[in-house]
């Protein structure tokens, strides 16, 4: 290979912030917007996606020697679909109410482009250990991003966090729009802008420092 492939530790750290799947790569937005009107469903979603991502990464990495280039996307999606079926059945068995609430969004993990892109970029090229670390890092990054938007939407929209009331309804008229679909787009847009602004500022500061030195 022409350039050095990232090691397990680098993959793990990259997933959390520097290459955050949501804020940096804009992957997997559908579940991100759909399930984040409260913390509890968002965290369930993050756990399910994390399980599928790690399992699919390890599986694809284990069979990477057998992959044929023109069939690889199909193999990825079928692997993911298998693990999503497992996650769906487990959720329906142990967390029935949550599984009902999340409805079609659990099976829609199959179409989460984040997982396919990780299989393509990392797992189909590197060892099982690196693929596992990459999966864990990316899942943590995804969970962190879900938590950030769900926190804003739940506190503003229903005055609570994880179902615990923080702002009493007397002095906080809940913003109904936040738990409805438009709120997801608006909060996401503002948060994305904030992340971009912070990144630009850091970059400018670094540039100023190098020019001084």
């Amino acid at each position: 290979m022409a350039h050095e492939s990232p090691t397990a530790l680098e993959r793990f750290i990259n997933g959390i912030l520097p290459e955050n799947p949501i804020y940096r790569q804009l992957l997997g937005l559908c579940p991100f917007l759909a399930v984040t009107n409260a913390m509890a469903p968002a965290m369930t979603m993050a756990a399910a996606t994390g399980f599928v991502l790690i399992a699919a990464n390890v599986m694809v990495s284990a069979i990477r020697g057998l992959l044929k280039p023109h069939l690889r996307i199909l193999v990825f999606t079928l692997t993911i679909a298998t693990f999503v079926t497992i996650a769906d059945k487990v959720l329906a068995a142990y967390l029935y109410d949550m599984s009902k609430q999340l409805g079609p969004y659990i099976p829609l993990i199959i179409c989460n482009c984040l997982i396919i892109s990780r299989c393509e970029i990392c797992a189909s090229k590197q060892s099982i250990k690196v693929a596992f670390a990459d999966g864990v890092g990316m899942s943590l990054g995804f969970a962190l991003a879900l938590a950030s938007i769900a926190t804003v939407r739940e506190i503003l929209g229903s005055g609570s966090w994880f179902g615990v009331e923080l702002l009493s309804p007397e002095f906080w008229p809940a913003w109904g729009i936040m738990v409805l679909p438009p709120g997801a787009f608006l909060v996401m847009g503002v948060l994305l802008g904030a992340a971009e602004w912070y990144g630009n500022r850091k970059k400018a500061a670094a540039a100023a420092q190098t020019s001084e030195a």
């Binding site: 996307i73 679909a81 729009i177 787009f185």
Partner: protein
């Protein structure tokens, strides 16, 4: 009369009232990725509508005859193998895998068709055409059909499944074309640097979703009006 009005309701509800993109958040990736030029967005919408109809047809057939609990074909096979006739054969655990397979093959089919008959369009789509496979709008339509085939009281026929799929596809086309029109105008605006690109697109989508919320409840009102008419 009753069936026709039910079909119209399913169609309108999928296309406008509960718009796939702006209400269910499915198909966001192409909605943000391919919505820079109206022409391309419209073409993308049509391709998705086409794929969604084929996929809905195939997945309805698979679900109805093979996958749902007590479907005819596995029951026959089970009886041929000498199984206990009292048992219900349920293969629905396989449904996600079958759907993905169906969608991937329909996309392949559309890709071949477009490459043969519309080479210019094929070139302009580039990587986005194979990416329709991972468009959640299509899988979402399949899942909705699965949901309505699991309820034995109100079993959906093929016409209802197709009404939902075509309605959803047209709803996607409407949303993505509107978005592309807005973004073409946005190119001439002075947007804060941090919000440029996806940030402002998401804010615009939020306002668009708010506008579409105005349709909430229209399906119920329409159903009532139709029921009164038929009485």
């Amino acid at each position: 009369m009753e069936t026709v009005s039910a079909l119209v309701l399913i169609f309108l509800s999928a296309a406008i009232i509960n718009n796939f993109v702006l209400y269910y958040f499915v198909g966001i990736c192409p909605f943000l990725g391919v919505s820079r030029k109206i022409g391309m967005a419209f073409g993308m919408g049509l391709a998705v509508t086409f794929v969604i109809s084929i996929a809905a047809f195939l997945s309805w057939a698979f679900t109805f005859y093979i996958l749902r609990a007590g479907a005819p074909i596995p029951t026959q096979v089970w009886a041929l193998l000498g199984g206990d006739p009292e048992t219900t054969v349920d293969l629905s655990v396989l449904s996600y895998i079958i759907y993905i397979f169906v969608i991937a093959s329909s996309v392949q089919f559309v890709e071949m068709y477009v490459r043969k008959f519309f080479p210019a369009l094929y070139k302009s789509f580039g990587v986005f055409l194979p990416l329709i496979t991972t468009n959640c709008a299509i899988l979402f339509a399949c899942l909705e059909i699965l949901k309505h085939l699991q309820d034995p009281m109100n079993l959906w026929g093929l016409h209802e499944a197709l009404a939902l799929a075509i309605g959803g596809g047209i709803g996607f086309t409407i949303a993505i074309s509107l978005m592309a029109g807005l973004r073409e105008e946005l190119d001439m605006c002075d947007v804060p640097k941090a919000l440029r690109g996806t940030g402002i697109a998401l804010l615009v989508a939020g306002i668009l979703a708010m506008a579409f919320m105005g349709f909430t409840g229209v399906d119920k009102g329409l159903a009532n009006a139709l029921a009164m008419l038929s009485n």
